[in-house]
Point group: C5
Chain length 295, copies 5
């Protein structure tokens, strides 16, 4: 996620240099063809442009609103995982007297959050498993298709064993289980966003339409603007391309690029909070933005 406030014209131009380059070249080519080659058939009257523009604005609005809603829902769900992990840790420490068991459960919860991030990004989770789980559990969980879910299941089994062993009463198990269920619900929501892309029509159409618009724009403007055409045409075309780009950036919040949710920072916060809770000695530093990007 970009956190730097310094995203202004310079940044925009750099990031979209390729698209802008093609756009300007095309605009210049049309201008030259019209003014010096006298290909006057290139010019078309202006009217269809606003009609076209309103259709594009319509679909861009729907798409960008939906993409932003997905992004913010994903962020809210990660927030729910963070909150409920803290509630779980507080509950475990207040209700379980066996310190080793309490530590084990809280370390499992850290491993859960770290592997959930890996699961969503489809990257290796070996580090997270090795650092926070006992070797045999790490090994058995690593084989599961859904690693975080396997860790949750192991935690459920540990709680059930504690209840049978008399270390926890029914009410306490019920409370902890409700917190875990809230975490499972949030994970389900994140997987839903990951596995159900925005309807492809909403992803693809704005791009197709924006490009068609950029092709027609100089043909409509060349007669009126003359030599100034490439400037005006590129500015307007660039705006629509950028708006489309913003929607694409947000519509999949787990895609391993700089527009992702800062999941590394979120899970690190959770790691630090929970490790402090159990008095761990080595605590990793918080994640800070690198060149304006928070991972």
């Amino acid at each position: 996620m970009i956190v730097s406030r310094g995203i202004h014209m310079g940044w925009l131009l750099r990031e979209n240099a390729a698209a802008l380059g093609i756009l300007v070249s095309y605009d210049v080519a049309v201008t030259c063809a019209y003014l010096w080659l006298h290909w006057h058939w290139l010019s078309i009257p202006l009217l269809p442009l606003p009609l076209l523009g309103s259709a594009i604005a319509l679909i861009l609005t729907i798409r960008n609103n939906a993409a932003y809603a997905r992004w913010w829902e994903a962020r809210t769900l990660w927030g729910a995982i963070l909150n409920n992990s803290r509630n779980f840790a507080r509950g475990v420490l207040a209700q379980i007297d066996d310190a080793a068991l309490a530590q084990h459960l809280i370390r499992c919860q850290i491993a859960y959050a770290l592997t959930l991030r890996c699961h969503l990004l489809r990257i290796s989770n070996a580090d997270a498993l090795a650092s926070y789980l006992p070797p045999d559990l790490a090994e058995s969980c690593a084989k599961a298709a859904n690693v975080p879910m396997a860790i949750q299941a192991a935690m459920g089994r540990a709680l059930a064993a504690a209840r049978l062993g008399g270390k926890l009463d029914t009410v306490a198990v019920g409370n902890l289980d409700r917190t875990l269920a809230a975490v499972v619900d949030a994970q389900g929501g994140l997987e839903r966003i990951k596995n159900t892309p925005l309807p492809r029509q909403y992803s693809a159409l704005p791009l197709v339409f924006s490009r068609a618009y950029c092709v027609m724009l100089p043909l409509g403007l060349v007669k009126g603007l003359g030599l100034a055409m490439p400037l005006g045409s590129a500015l307007i075309g660039f705006m629509f391309l950028i708006l489309n780009e913003v929607g694409l950036d947000l519509e999949d919040p787990f895609s391993n690029n700089m527009h992702d949710l800062p999941m590394k920072a979120i899970t690190r916060t959770l790691e630090i909070d929970l490790l402090q809770t159990i008095g761990a000695e080595e605590i990793p530093p918080p994640i800070t933005p690198q060149a304006g990007i928070l991972a």
Copy 2:
């Protein structure tokens, strides 16, 4: 659901070839009539077109937003069924010592999800019943009008019997029942979306208006654009028709076509997860997209 990213101009043209063909033929006919037959009365001034366009944009926005909200709500409800089924399985295994009963309940829950999909699509559920329910229960459930609801009722009776038989205490029954009630709520929501179509006016008007617009567009543009008219007119008209199409695709998410929610994949995920939980031996493979479509 379409998952392939490759939906670009080519795909759009192929899918909508018929509509586009009619549109272009009509545009060409108008051009010919105007330019060669000199039917100049065909041309109308441009002004009404933007007025018309804004009315269409208005209703298309309302309709497409509502259709997308229905689609995403349906997806979220299926996610709730998936989450609560997992929670139910975890709860059953943790709280019921009788392994046969636990297995029976979890297999019932799989049958529930599979028949719910069939129920929404109005297709045969014989396979699901035969695979996961004991023959007598399968037979009695098959007769019910609402098969998934009948399976739920049977599960409720099994839980009540277990409580009477002393295999479960009141608190545990309460917890499991709350999870089942959450599943019933989600099913109720899915049936609501299935049985209550978007107000028909919102379904029908955009189509009627878009077609009227496509008829008037070439009459308005022919004088100004001349030979280039079919291109511009077809592009704009095609956009409005496509936007209408996107809304129609999303407004009923259970209609047995390629824009449906991927219910087969969702229920298969649930099947695999729950079968693994009870250590089943034969586990079906996950559903993968076929030619870019996930069923």
Copy 3:
């Protein structure tokens, strides 16, 4: 509620024949006055029309979105009543051993739903009371201002008596009471929608503005369109009138007309489900659409 898919141009024309007739007559009159009587002062420049159109589009969008949200919220609340009635019946049968009492409670719940519909539509509920309540209870409930609420109160008293008589424990009463409270909440929401109309300004302004627009439209178009004016002007004016109509249809979902929620079908579904649950012999048939309308 209209469920037939066949609402196309023909249907629209028939339903709105009066408005359309007045509109076309007026448009023709203006055309004649301008072309044959040479009342050229009738013609006004075009500019104010788009300005006017954008103000109307603005308020129509706000109004129609709000009306649709009211309609869908009402449908969702009826869904909640349906779901919670099923949950209540399942809970009653699983937890109450006295079969007569269980039947009585479930029949009360059916009477509740049937009278709630009557209450919202302000129609007679004599049938519902006579069919499902014992005569003395039916008589006492019939006198209440809020009949469904009186039935609920009677159910609450029956549950309290059962608890005092030792037929139900505290936890079970608590569970059943929570379900009834969810039903009361949904009823409260339905009464809120019934008793609090959309702010009257939002109801009245679109109509006033649309009519003003229809009056001005032909004056603006007559100079440019000539003989073709009645066609273009009627089409655009008709669109705005129709859009206003759609909003009016949805903004009050309980008004005894064909745009109402299908409350008869919903309560019949509930009736059938609950009667089957208690093994009743005479079960009424489901409601089916009549001429494309589901009541």
Copy 4:
């Protein structure tokens, strides 16, 4: 709240006579100055008007949507107070055997709702306190800054005393307390809406911009419309002023004017329902609309 359906052109004109008068006078003055005094420098070309109009439409849409959402949220919160008061009364009667205590609690809840209305409107609550609370409690509550909250606190103390005196068990207290907490939440929401106005920029800008628009409109239209200008200009300007007015009416739903939520009617409904529940003899009549306004 206006409930009469008869708000049409006549009503609008009467309510906004002053604004309309100024508007028309100004339009006529511009027309005269242009046509008879030949102040041709008054006329400005038309182009900036649509640009200006779209900026105003933009902010009006955002503001009016937000204002409507505030109004409907406030209505929903009052609905929650009504529902939970009914649930509280049902719970009190079912679980407390001491009839005097039960009556006291229910009368407190009536006083709570009545004083909450007074609290939100900043009006005297002497009547409500005198009618429903014992004199000493009324006196002590009257001194509190937040009277409804003081009544709730007294109810909490009465419940605690009942529990200590053995008249209520822990579970029952927990259930009643949850209902009271839901009422407190709803009150918190109402105070939030009361104390946090819509961002002042959103309140003030539409007015400033609409007025600027009304000033510029005749200058832009006078050349083209001539003598007909005051009509067209006043109509368009009036629309924007009215749209702004609607937003202002809704944005503060507790401001002692005719656009307020019908809090008197809501609390009266609650009063009647709860008094009937405890078999009171004197029951006030329901509030009915006066001249189309429900207070």
Copy 5:
């Protein structure tokens, strides 16, 4: 937060004097260059301006809606903290007989709310800690990275100790813990809004586009408007700049400026309410607006 209703043209002009000054100077310069220096190449045809305007309106609407939603969500979350703190205090007083412990817990909750405000604004919390916590607890909490969270943890430990010491039963601890968990959830939401800025593209693009628009506007209008151009151009440009400003004001509700949520007033209300509850003698006065601004 601005609460004064007196924000009209005067206020807007003062607050944005710098931007307006630059805008007007530029507009005047263009006019002079065009009219007296006869730099006629400065003038560009008007058409691209509406195209540009619609793209800007599009992104401004999305951004300002999202910013308002963030602001209102933050306000709602603070309301949840206020409500649940009151519920916590009521619960503590009703269920804990040890007066000293009850007072300690309620004072901790006050310190929690005060330090949460400091935490969000990144300002010193020394006062809050010194006034309401015992010195040793204040010292240990002051060292934590997340001070409010540390206070909550201390409260959790105090509750656990009270349960072990027999001062509280399991059910009461469960109820109080649920209230604390609701507070933690609300804090999590506030930190989410604080730490996850609106996507930077949505923050930066409206500014970039609005400025580009202000640069082009006079070039487009100078030919038509002549000497009147600076007035019209500045008015329109100013509107877009103001709309952008409103969004920026709301998008980060914790940024130590006058557009912030009135957190000082909210926490003071909480302080007063809770101190009155425990019968404290010195109670601070409520916060009142200063020069129309509520802090």
